[in-house]
Point group: C2
């Protein structure tokens, strides 16, 4: 048996999880993820890895895809009400989330549930749920206190969130719920709601929040400092090589549960990147990505750190073609005609290979993760592109 509280920030109530683990029955261990963005990123996998540990000890993971709660919006850690994703986005994301989660979780020991199954309840049942708590209790959470203090609005809808996600615990009869430290209020609230519905309240386990590739803020799609679990091997490798040395130890600790090796930082970072690419793309994918990285950065004199350019805004309506002169103009702050001239002279390269003079419109899927070079000393890493 592994020490399931290793790396965790808090396990509450104190001693409860240890007692639960002494029982004979496999525990039902809940994780809720709202499909608000297209991809699961490495930050999510900190909790997923911990769930995989529970599975290796014989417990059942209940993965809740919050297709209903995504329409309400989790206020956790928000300084303002966020724009909600559309129903179509939620549906599309929900469909891919479970496949992404299975890059870490054991399919056989995972129960996947969509919370619209029980949250699309009769209005009377929803009123019954609302009757279980007071406004004061709902406003206790730190993020709301901060917003009230700053006179920033809290949407009435946001109040509903902890009630709904707490009811998820009732619906799946969770014994344990996991989440990031920013979920502590929600997880504890789940205990209240389970108690109100006559269930034994779950224990909760909070995990640290992984810092993004900038080494400063939490990893988040909207901050652009994330590594998605479906990112192409080269893009994933390159992004991981861009994290500051100081953040490396935390990546090792939270993603591998081990210490950073004693090797020089650049070596340790390459090992980290190789192992993570292997994890999400299969054994050997890391080494291949590293070779490609070397071709560009080491053999061709490209720096290991460079600005990134998101392909998203450059894709035409059809969604796949990118007009290279426009990319050059914006990315390197040159005129479109200078861009065309450079292409014609063989001065524009992709991963070190000159772009053909006739290739003005390129496939965005082919560009993503590659390094765009203009002249000898200007480099950009192309990221994003088609979902």
């Amino acid at each position: 048996m592994s020490d399931l509280t290793r790396n965790a920030v808090e396990a509450l109530p104190e001693g409860m999880l240890a007692k639960q683990l002494q029982g004979d029955r496999p525990l039902r261990v809940k994780l809720g993820i709202d499909p608000t963005t297209a991809d699961i990123h490495l930050g999510h996998t900190v909790v997923l890895e911990k769930l995989a540990e529970f599975q290796r000890d014989g417990h059942t993971v209940v993965l809740i895809i919050g297709d209903f709660t995504a329409r309400v919006g989790d206020p956790s850690g928000r300084s303002s009400a966020r724009p909600l994703p559309s129903a179509e986005e939620i549906e599309a994301n929900a469909a891919t989330y479970q496949e992404q989660a299975f890059k870490v979780l054991d399919r056989e020991r995972t129960e996947v549930r969509f919370n619209s199954e029980w949250l699309r309840m009769e209005p009377e049942a929803l009123l019954g749920l609302l009757a279980q708590t007071t406004v004061a209790r709902l406003l206790e959470r730190d993020d709301f206190q901060k917003r009230m203090g700053a006179n920033q609005p809290i949407a009435a809808l946001e109040l509903l969130y902890p009630l709904l996600q707490g009811y998820d615990s009732v619906a799946v009869e969770a014994d344990v719920e996991l989440g990031g430290t920013d979920q502590k209020f929600n997880l504890l609230f789940g205990r209240d709601i389970q108690g109100a519905y006559g269930q034994k309240p779950q224990s909760i386990l909070t995990m640290p929040i992984l810092v993004g590739t900038d080494g400063v803020q939490k990893m988040s799609k909207s901050l652009g400092n994330y590594v998605g679990v479906t990112d192409a091997p080269e893009e994933m490798f390159g992004r991981l090589m861009s994290i500051p040395d100081e953040a490396m130890a935390e990546y090792y600790r939270l993603l591998f549960g081990s210490e950073q090796p004693g090797s020089p930082p650049n070596e340790a970072k390459r090992e980290l990147a190789r192992r993570l690419v292997d994890r999400f793309h299969g054994e050997g994918a890391g080494a291949a990505a590293e070779e490609s990285f070397n071709r560009v950065f080491v053999d061709r004199g490209a720096p290991e750190e460079m600005p990134e350019l998101d392909l998203g805004p450059y894709m035409d309506d059809g969604g796949s073609q990118v007009h290279l002169p426009r990319l050059l103009a914006d990315g390197f702050e040159i005129s479109a005609s200078e861009g065309r001239r450079l292409i014609g002279q063989g001065g524009v390269k992709l991963d070190g290979e000159p772009v053909a003079a006739t290739a003005l419109d390129l496939d965005a899927g082919e560009l993503s993760g590659r390094v765009l070079q203009a002249g000898k000393r200007r480099f950009l890493r192309l990221v994003g592109g088609p979902a």
Copy 2:
């Protein structure tokens, strides 16, 4: 055309109603009543009379029976969350409310709607409604501010109330909404919700709150100081005769829209009682009730004011029989055996007539509204009884 703002406390926004009344189209004038108690009382009729005035000018009244909102609970004027009526109580009350309202309203110009028709909405629609406002806006209302100041709990469910009743205005496309002054927040909130749903916001008209028969607190079923519109003529007459002289002018003003007559207070009060009994029981019923009142109170030496005893707790399980010795024991604080002795001696009277020595169990329906007398000087008015 009558002056529709006569007696009103506020008509908001200023000047809007006057402008609406200049149009050609009959206005849709909304009143919402939650069927939380069995009967409509005179307090409710202040607003109903005003609606009847709108009808006489050709407008349409939309009477909303809040069978759904009754399950949420209107926080207006409450110092704490109240216990909610059961589904069965609501259903029973809803069935009788409209008949009671037609004692004042013109059936031909009234559209009766139950708000479960639109409030039993899909959860997505309910979320959409909740997204229309902020927590701060919902907590602005005076009653909540007072409760927060006193650290008294506000149920999360109570927050929902103004949103739901505001949506009623959207559903029926109200031009004007009426209510007591305690409804001002809710009525104004209806304007917000109409605006959010792309409708022209209604104007609102608030009416004064009628004081109860105690002359002090607002008329309310739960305070026991009310006159129900379905009360028996004798009970209605007797209860109205018990209001303090000082409250009479307000009753005249709010229920008849006229000044208190210059006659001596006792005469003016009798006229008030006669006219109201006539209103709810038909022409002549007032004079008959007064005669019965005289037989008891004037001819037999009973006082015009006396304590009331609620028959409710004395009805047996079947619901209709009352055991007279128990009533005497509790009502006059004598022993049951003394009660039986008094009955045997002909010393117990109902409306001045001695009760037969063998009549120990009496029908509660027959007792309600009558005066129970023990010996020469002890009197009680019996109230309540079967619904």
